[in-house]
C-alpha cells in the first residue's frame, strides 16, 4: 500500500512544482465560482424573488460555491487522458510487468492531484467566496458529517467512472471522444450548474436515478438539508451500489483489456 501512497505523494509534489500554474489555477477557479454565483443572482433577480420553488437565493449561492469549488476538485479528463496516453505510447504494457495494479495506480495518482487541488484551489476559493457571499453552514451536524461521506463517495465514483471510460479506449483506440461524452453527461445530469429541483419532469426523475447525480447533486442536497435522515441513508446506499457496479466494470474491463494489449516496436 505504501507504493500507492508514494504515487499519490509524487502526483501532489509534481503539480506544486510550477508556482505560476498554482496562481493561475486559483485565479481561474475563483472566476468560475464568482460567475456561477452571478448567474443565480441574475436568475433570481429576473423573477423578482428571493425564494423560488422553496429554495432561497442564499441556498443557491451555497449550492454554486459547493458545486463549483468543492465538487470540481476531481478531474475526470486527467484520468481518461492518462489512460489514453499510456495506451498510445505503449506505457501501459510496462505497467503489466510491474508488481502494481494499474487501476489502483491511476486512483492513487488522482488522489495526489485531488490533494493538490484541495489545498491550492478548493480551500482558497471557498474561503474567499464565502467571505464575500456568505456561504451557509451545513443544515445540521448530521448533514455536515454526511456531506463529507457523500463527498468522498463522489470522488471515488467519479474516479471509477473516468477509469471505466478510459479503459473503453482499449477497444475504440481513442480516448478523446470518451472524455467529451463523460463531460457531456456530467454537465447535464450531475446537477453541476442547475440542481434537479429546477428540472422539468420527467427529466428530474430520470436525472435523480442516474449515477451522475451522486457526483454533485446529492452531496450538495445533503449539505443543504434537502433530504431527510432516512433519505440520506437510503441514497448513500444507492450511491455505494453505483460505486460497486462501476468497480466491477473497471475490474472486468481491465482484465479484458490486459489480454488485448499488443506491443508494437520497442
Amino acid at each position: 500500500m505504501s507504493v500507492y501512497s508514494a504515487f499519490a505523494r509524487s502526483a501532489f509534489h509534481s503539480q506544486l512544482a510550477y508556482r505560476n500554474e498554482v496562481w493561475a489555477n486559483i485565479f481561474g477557479k475563483l472566476v468560475q465560482v464568482i460567475a456561477r454565483v452571478a448567474i443565480w443572482q441574475a436568475a433570481y433577480a429576473g423573477v423578482g424573488a428571493t425564494v423560488v420553488g422553496g429554495v432561497s437565493l442564499q441556498q443557491m449561492v451555497t449550492y454554486a460555491l459547493l458545486g463549483g469549488a468543492v465538487m470540481g476538485a476531481t478531474r475526470p479528463e486527467r484520468i481518461i487522458n492518462e489512460i489514453g496516453r499510456s495506451l498510445k505510447t505503449g506505457d501501459v504494457a510496462v505497467w503489466l510487468l510491474k508488481p502494481i495494479f494499474y487501476p489502483l495506480y491511476i486512483f492513487a495518482n488522482e488522489c495526489g492531484s485531488f490533494g493538490y487541488r484541495l489545498m491550492t484551489q478548493v480551500i482558497p476559493t471557498v474561503a474567499v467566496t464565502a467571505m464575500f457571499y456568505g456561504m451557509l453552514p451545513p443544515a445540521s451536524l448530521f448533514d455536515g458529517a454526511m456531506f463529507i461521506v457523500f463527498w468522498m463517495l463522489s470522488v471515488i465514483l467519479l474516479s471509477l467512472m473516468s477509469m471505466f471510460c478510459g479503459l473503453i479506449a482499449f477497444w475504440l483506440m481513442t480516448s478523446f471522444s470518451l472524455d467529451w461524452v463523460l463531460g457531456a453527461l456530467l454537465q447535464l445530469f450531475s446537477g453541476l450548474l442547475v440542481p434537479f429541483w429546477f428540472f422539468p419532469e420527467p427529466l428530474a426523475t430520470i436525472a435523480r436515478h442516474l449515477p451522475f447525480a451522486w457526483v454533485v447533486y446529492y452531496p450538495n442536497a445533503v449539505y443543504l438539508g434537502r433530504l431527510s435522515a432516512a433519505d440520506t441513508w437510503f441514497h448513500l446506499g444507492l450511491g455505494l451500489g453505483w460505486a460497486g457496479l462501476f468497480l466491477l466494470g473497471v475490474l472486468w474491463l481491465w482484465r479484458s483489456a490486459s489480454t488485448r494489449i499488443t506491443v508494437q516496436g520497442g
Partner: protein, 267 residues
C-alpha cells in the same frame, strides 16, 4: 517570399488534413462527442431559462443567438490557432522549435497551416443551425445593415480569438510553459455564454480589457440586439468591429517580441 509562402500553404494544409482523416471513424466519433458536449451545455442553459424565463434581461432565443455566435467565432478562430499554439510549449521544451527557426519559412505560418484543425467541424455543425434558428426566433427586426453587422462582428470575433490564443502560445517562447494560461482563457471564455451585465464590475472590466473575450460574443450580440452594454454603452458596436483587427496587430507585435526573447530550452 510571399509567393513562396502562398505556394507552400495549401500543401501543408492538405498534408495535415490527410493525416487527420486517416482514421475516419474515430474522427467523426470525436466530432459527435463534441456536439454532445456543447449540446448538453446548451440544454443546461435551456433548463435554467425554462424555469426562470430570462437571464439578465435576455430571453431564451437571445441566449441561443449569443451561445451559437460564441461557439462559431471560437471554432473558426481556434481552428487557426489553438492546438498549434498549445503544442508550441512542447516544441520549446524539447528544443524542436529551433528546427522551425532555420527553415526558410515563417515559423508562425508553418505552425498554423501545418496544424490547421479541421476537428472544429463538430462545433460548426452544431453552431450554424443553432445560429440560423436563433436569428429567426429572436424578437428583432432584421435589416441589411444589421445582417452585415452580424457577419462583420463574427469575422472580428474570429480574428480576436486567434490573436489571443497566439499571444498565449507565444508566451511559451519566453516562459517555456504557457499552457496554464489557457485554463484562465477558457475559464473566462465559458462566462461569455452569458450576458456581460450579470457579472460583477471587476469581471466586466477584465473581460473588456486584459482578457477581452466579451468582445468575441456578448458585446457584439448585445450591440446587435440593442441591449445595454456595461462600460462601453453606445461604443459597443464599433468596439466589437475594431477589436479583431486591433488585437491582431497587438498579437503580431507580441509574437515578434517573444521571438526576440526566445533562448531555447531543449537540449
Amino acid at each position: 517570399m510571399l509567393l513562396h509562402h502562398l505556394r507552400v500553404i495549401p500543401l501543408l494544409v492538405r498534408m495535415h488534413i490527410r493525416s487527420q482523416m486517416e482514421y475516419r471513424g474515430a474522427f467523426w466519433l470525436d466530432r459527435l462527442a463534441q456536439i454532445l458536449s456543447y449540446g448538453s451545455v446548451f440544454a443546461t442553459i435551456g433548463i435554467l431559462l425554462a424555469r426562470f424565463d430570462t437571464l439578465g434581461g435576455w430571453s431564451w432565443p437571445e441566449l441561443a443567438l449569443l451561445y451559437s455566435f460564441q461557439l462559431l467565432a471560437y471554432s473558426l478562430g481556434a481552428a487557426m490557432s489553438f492546438t498549434q499554439l498549445r503544442d508550441l510549449e512542447e516544441l520549446v521544451r524539447l528544443g524542436t522549435y529551433d528546427a522551425l527557426l532555420v527553415k526558410p519559412f515563417s515559423p508562425w505560418v508553418y505552425l498554423i497551416f501545418s496544424g490547421l484543425n479541421i476537428g472544429y467541424a463538430g462545433h460548426i455543425i452544431l453552431a450554424v443551425p443553432l445560429l440560423g434558428w436563433a436569428v429567426f426566433s429572436v424578437d428583432f427586426a432584421w435589416s441589411v445593415p444589421s445582417a452585415l453587422f452580424l457577419v462583420a462582428a463574427l469575422f472580428s470575433a474570429t480574428l480576436l480569438t486567434a490573436a489571443l490564443i497566439t499571444m498565449i502560445g507565444a508566451t511559451a517562447l519566453i516562459w517555456v510553459r504557457s499552457n496554464h494560461l489557457f485554463s484562465i482563457f477558457f475559464g473566462f471564455w465559458e462566462l461569455m455564454r452569458y450576458p456581460l451585465n450579470i457579472f460583477p464590475g471587476s469581471i466586466q472590466i477584465t473581460l473588456l480589457t486584459a482578457v477581452p473575450l466579451a468582445l468575441t460574443s456578448s458585446v457584439p450580440v448585445a450591440a446587435l440586439l440593442g441591449k445595454p452594454v456595461p462600460i462601453l454603452g453606445d461604443w459597443a458596436g464599433p468596439a466589437a468591429l475594431a477589436a479583431g483587427p486591433v488585437w491582431v496587430l497587438i498579437a503580431m507585435v507580441y509574437w515578434r517580441y517573444a521571438t526576440g526573447k526566445y533562448q531555447g530550452a531543449g537540449g
